[in-house]
């Protein structure tokens, strides 16, 4: 018994001693009442932080943002210099190519697409429209529905319909009066009869039965209203492009009108021009044309852009019967019902759906970045640009992609800037606080100099000097360095103050008495005691750094285009027209900044509360 008691006492003593050395790692505490005291400070902080629901939410939110932004931008690379001006400022929304099933049931007669929508004529004579509305183009006028429509066509933001009796209706964007048949043309149409209608980028045209073409709308810059005298009165077919109209006359000659000197004109082969090949169909993309002659042979000319002049395999041997063209892609159909698509594939508009690869196709239509095809059973397929979930910016770039990549830039700039400033602040604060005397005085004077400049004006001044021959990456790095170089004094002062307090404590005295070198004392003994403060300060200044970058880029002095950043995406919002009309272009990036900074601030607050000794009092 006696022995047992001694052993027990010894064991208990041993446990106590052991627990002293395994401080914080012990699973079962010896002093049940003092359970919390056994936890190491770091564990207490982590536990406190975990108990704070808001802080945990902020942390999870922040980690998710990081994952989405960095994962997403790695998965979907972006071409900084690619623009689609015609798709500019489209509102958020998808469904450009989501046609109503009623239309498919009625049977396809014609489909013609604008930038964000399509209008179509069913075999039942009804007019259908789908996609995202721009300026009322989807609300087909009642008169049109009442009339017997034979032809329908769409420009970029407006549409035209032709009735059996030769009456022309137009609706949609009317900035250049392109959606109103002018009085003088209407009166000419009393004598001639409209047989075809054309619609291009903000212009409209009528082809009469006398072979005359009448163009109205935005024609001033492109001179599209001047029809060549050699062709006027003899025109069989006219094909609209953005800046040109191709004309095919009744003798088979091909002419061009509108802006002169475009590749469409300069690269046009002689045998096409003089009519030595009899063309049956003619289509045109932005700067490239394709034509097919009566034997089904294909001709293409124009600018070699987006691989438009690189024909798909087997097309030269096939007998082409039908052609269609979008803004940057061609579609062709041969007499076997085989479909060919080539050109730009940015919106997957040149990717034939697998279901269509082995069936016969009976009808094709392409416009802008959309493609439609009907197979022999009457089933309608659509592919290509289905819209921008978050809209597009002033250059027609997908805002969602810009937000993703802009987020990567903004968050990286902020993080690196904070790392630089934390490193400097820590270093300078440590040295000043520990060595004191003249070193302290000098460093703190220096900190005073730096912090005596107001932050934003100094950053703006410094970054405006960067407009030299810097590449995008160099500039980004310079912004980070500038932000880092001038935001350290606050942290340095904080650290210095902490060190001054820590330096006087007994453990430092003990370390000194043991003869430990001062740099070891700083790094191994003092630094761990203040690292918590550094982490909180880093978190909170990261939020501040995000805001600074945004403000700087907003003013045009931070990250400059084409590199996206949340701040410079907002740059356009300095015009009130953008604020008013294109809300998604400024609300979304600003919301991203807000959410990111908010989550970081919540985490920072949570950390600070978790480290507050008063939080452990309960």
């Amino acid at each position: 018994m006696q022995e047992n008691k001694i052993i027990r006492t010894l064991k208990s003593f041993g446990r106590t001693v052991a627990s002293l050395f395994t401080f914080g790692k012990k699973e079962t505490p010896i002093f049940n009442l003092a359970e919390e005291a056994v936890l190491s400070p770091t564990r207490v902080i982590i536990r406190n932080f975990k108990r704070n629901k808001l802080a945990m939410f902020g942390l999870i939110w922040f980690v998710m943002m990081i994952l989405v932004i960095f994962g997403g931008s790695a998965l979907f690379p972006i071409d900084l210099y690619e623009t689609e001006p015609v798709l500019r400022n489209t509102r958020p929304g998808t469904g450009y190519i989501k046609f109503p099933s009623a239309f498919e049931k009625a049977g396809v007669d014609t489909i013609s697409s604008g930038i964000t929508y399509s209008v179509a004529l069913g075999q039942d004579g009804e007019v259908y429209a789908w996609g995202i509305d721009v300026e009322g183009v989807l609300s087909v006028p009642k008169e049109v529905s009442a009339e017997n429509i034979t032809k329908i066509t769409s420009g970029d933001r407006h549409a035209l319909a032709l009735t059996e009796g030769g009456k022309v209706y137009a609706w949609g964007n009317n900035n250049f009066n392109q959606a109103e048949v002018p009085f003088e043309i209407e009166s000419i149409m009393q004598l001639e009869k409209a047989v075809d209608i054309l619609a291009g980028d903000q212009y409209s045209a009528i082809l009469s039965n006398k072979g005359r073409l009448y163009v109205w709308g935005s024609t001033f810059a492109t001179k599209l209203n001047i029809v060549p005298a050699a062709f006027q009165g003899n025109i069989a077919k006219a094909v609209p492009s953005s800046f040109n109209i191709l004309l095919l006359d009744k003798d088979g000659k091909v002419g061009i009108m509108g802006q002169s000197g475009t590749p469409l004109e300069t690269a046009m082969p002689e045998y096409i021009k003089d009519g030595s090949v009899r063309l049956s169909d003619l289509v045109v993309t932005l700067r490239t044309a394709a034509a097919v002659d009566e034997n089904g042979k294909l001709y293409v000319w124009g600018e070699d852009f987006n691989d438009l002049l690189t024909l798909p395999e087997g097309i030269q041997d096939a007998k082409i019967v039908e052609l269609a063209s979008g803004r940057a892609h061609f579609m062709a159909l041969d007499d076997q019902g085989k479909l060919y698509v080539w050109g730009s594939n940015k919106f997957n508009q040149s990717k034939i759906p697998s279901a269509l690869q082995n069936t016969k196709v009976s009808y094709i239509s392409a416009d802008f970045y959309q493609s439609y095809a009907v197979d022999e059973s009457g089933k309608l397929y659509s592919w290509g640009n289905n819209g921008f979930v978050l809209g597009s910016d002033e250059f027609g770039r997908d805002l969602a992609m810009r937000l993703l990549h802009g987020g990567r830039v903004s968050m990286t700039v902020g993080a690196v800037a904070v790392l630089i400033s934390t490193f400097l602040g820590l270093l300078i604060g440590l040295i000043a606080g520990f060595y004191g005397k003249w070193v302290d005085n000098l460093l703190m004077r220096f900190a005073e100099v730096i912090s005596s400049f107001p932050f934003l004006p100094l950053v703006i001044t410094l970054s405006s000097f960067l407009q030299g021959k810097l590449t995008q990456t160099e500039r980004l790095m310079m912004i980070m360095v500038i932000l880092g170089l001038i935001s350290w004094p606050g942290l340095a002062r904080l650290i210095r103050g902490q060190i001054l307090a820590e330096r006087e404590k007994d453990f430092v005295l003990a370390a000194r008495a043991l003869g430990i070198r001062s740099n070891v004392i700083i790094l191994r003994h003092i630094l761990p005691n203040i690292i918590n403060i550094v982490i909180v300060s880093m978190t909170l200044s990261y939020a501040g750094s995000l805001l600074t970058e945004a403000g700087l880029s907003f003013l045009g002095f931070g990250v400059v285009p084409p590199s996206p950043s949340w701040g410079n995406m907002l740059n356009g919002a300095q015009q009130s027209s953008v604020i008013q009309l294109y809300w998604w272009r400024w609300i979304l990036p600003a919301l991203c900044v807000l959410i990111a900074a908010l989550s970081v601030n919540i985490v920072g607050d949570g950390l600070r509360d978790a480290m507050d000794p008063k939080a452990n009092e309960k």
Partner: protein, 324 residues
């Protein structure tokens, strides 16, 4: 007190000296030749251009050595000659004068408003900690701290100016005719949105600051003593806690008095308010470096004096602090 002030001012001299050296070096190392920009583009003759160039260089003293240039510049600056703005062809002082007045006009209201709101709100939230009132303002200041200032401004323009058309989206009043009521109304119309934006931007930080200061005081032992003495809560809060919490707040107010003269670059450029921050942006865009240089010096001196004013404010409200 005066001894302290004297010492503080003396200690400023090396700081200002270093700042001026740094700024001078910065502007000398800038890319581009400002003199080339001063020669009228109409002169085609190369000889004539060169002659004009040399004359300008001589006039500006750019042919001298760098130390000589520095001494000349600092001498001019100290005597109040800040040089000539290249884009306005006027002395810098004249260019800055009106915008400075405009900025002050705006900031007076912002400072008054933000303290009128933040001091009572901060104290109330600290006293009624974890109440609904406190939670609301806590959320407000958390969101406010994370909100880019321009977002507040843009939302203001979007709602109040563009959609509701109550107020102009930006600019300066121009229909002034000397009639007091009319002029006041005009100014109010144009100043309301920038004032609201800046105030909201300020509030988030100041409410937090006041609340933390008050909580700090309330948790002190003497408050517990006061309560245990049986004093009513009103007396404890207003006569014991409030006075002590005011100490850090007063320094904040003292600091913001100097902030009156500083411009808010982002807000002013959103609202096209011809203030000092807006002028800085314009000057940077037009590469009007004399204006930028002067303004940076001005800002630096401002914030240095803010530190001194804060020290004095501290000494005034806290009898324990002795300025030596």
């Amino acid at each position: 007190m005066f001894k302290f002030l004297f010492r503080r001012f003396v200690s400023l001299i090396p700081v200002i000296f270093i700042i001026s050296l740094m700024l001078f070096g910065l502007f000398k190392s800038m890319p581009g030749d400002p003199v080339k920009l001063m020669i009228p583009p109409g002169i085609k003759s190369e000889v004539q251009r060169q002659a004009l160039y040399d004359a300008k260089v001589q006039q500006l003293g750019l042919d001298k050595s760098l130390p000589e240039q520095y001494v000349r510049w600092i001498g001019n600056t100290l005597t109040g000659d800040f040089g000539i703005s290249t884009s306005f062809n006027k002395p810098v002082v004249e260019v800055i004068e009106q915008p400075l007045k405009n900025s002050i006009k705006l900031n007076v209201f912002v400072v008054i408003l933000s303290f009128m709101i933040s001091i009572p709100v901060g104290i109330m939230s600290a006293v009624k900690r974890h109440s609904l009132f406190d939670s609301f303002w806590q959320v407000f200041s958390l969101v406010g701290l994370s909100m880019p200032v321009f977002f507040i401004g843009l939302l203001m323009i979007f709602t109040l100016a563009i959609n509701l058309r109550w107020l102009p989206a930006g600019g300066m009043p121009f229909k002034l005719n000397g009639d007091f009521i009319n002029d006041t109304l005009q100014w109010a119309r144009y100043m309301t949105l920038p004032i609201i934006t800046l105030t909201i931007g300020n509030l988030a930080g100041t409410i937090r600051y006041v609340r933390n200061a008050m909580i700090e005081v309330i948790s002190k032992d003497f408050i517990r003593t006061a309560r245990s003495k049986g004093l009513s809560e009103k007396v404890v809060i207003y006569s014991h806690a409030f006075r002590n919490a005011l100490i850090p707040v007063v320094t904040l107010v003292a600091g913001s008095l100097v902030g009156l003269f500083g411009g808010a670059a982002i807000t002013e450029s959103i609202f096209a308010w011809n203030g000092i921050g807006y002028v800085l942006i314009q000057a940077l865009n037009t590469r009007d470096y004399m204006v930028v240089l002067t303004m940076n010096i001005f800002y630096a001196v401002l914030s240095l004096s803010a530190n001194i004013i804060m020290d004095i404010g501290y000494a005034i409200v806290d009898p324990r602090v002795k300025l030596k």
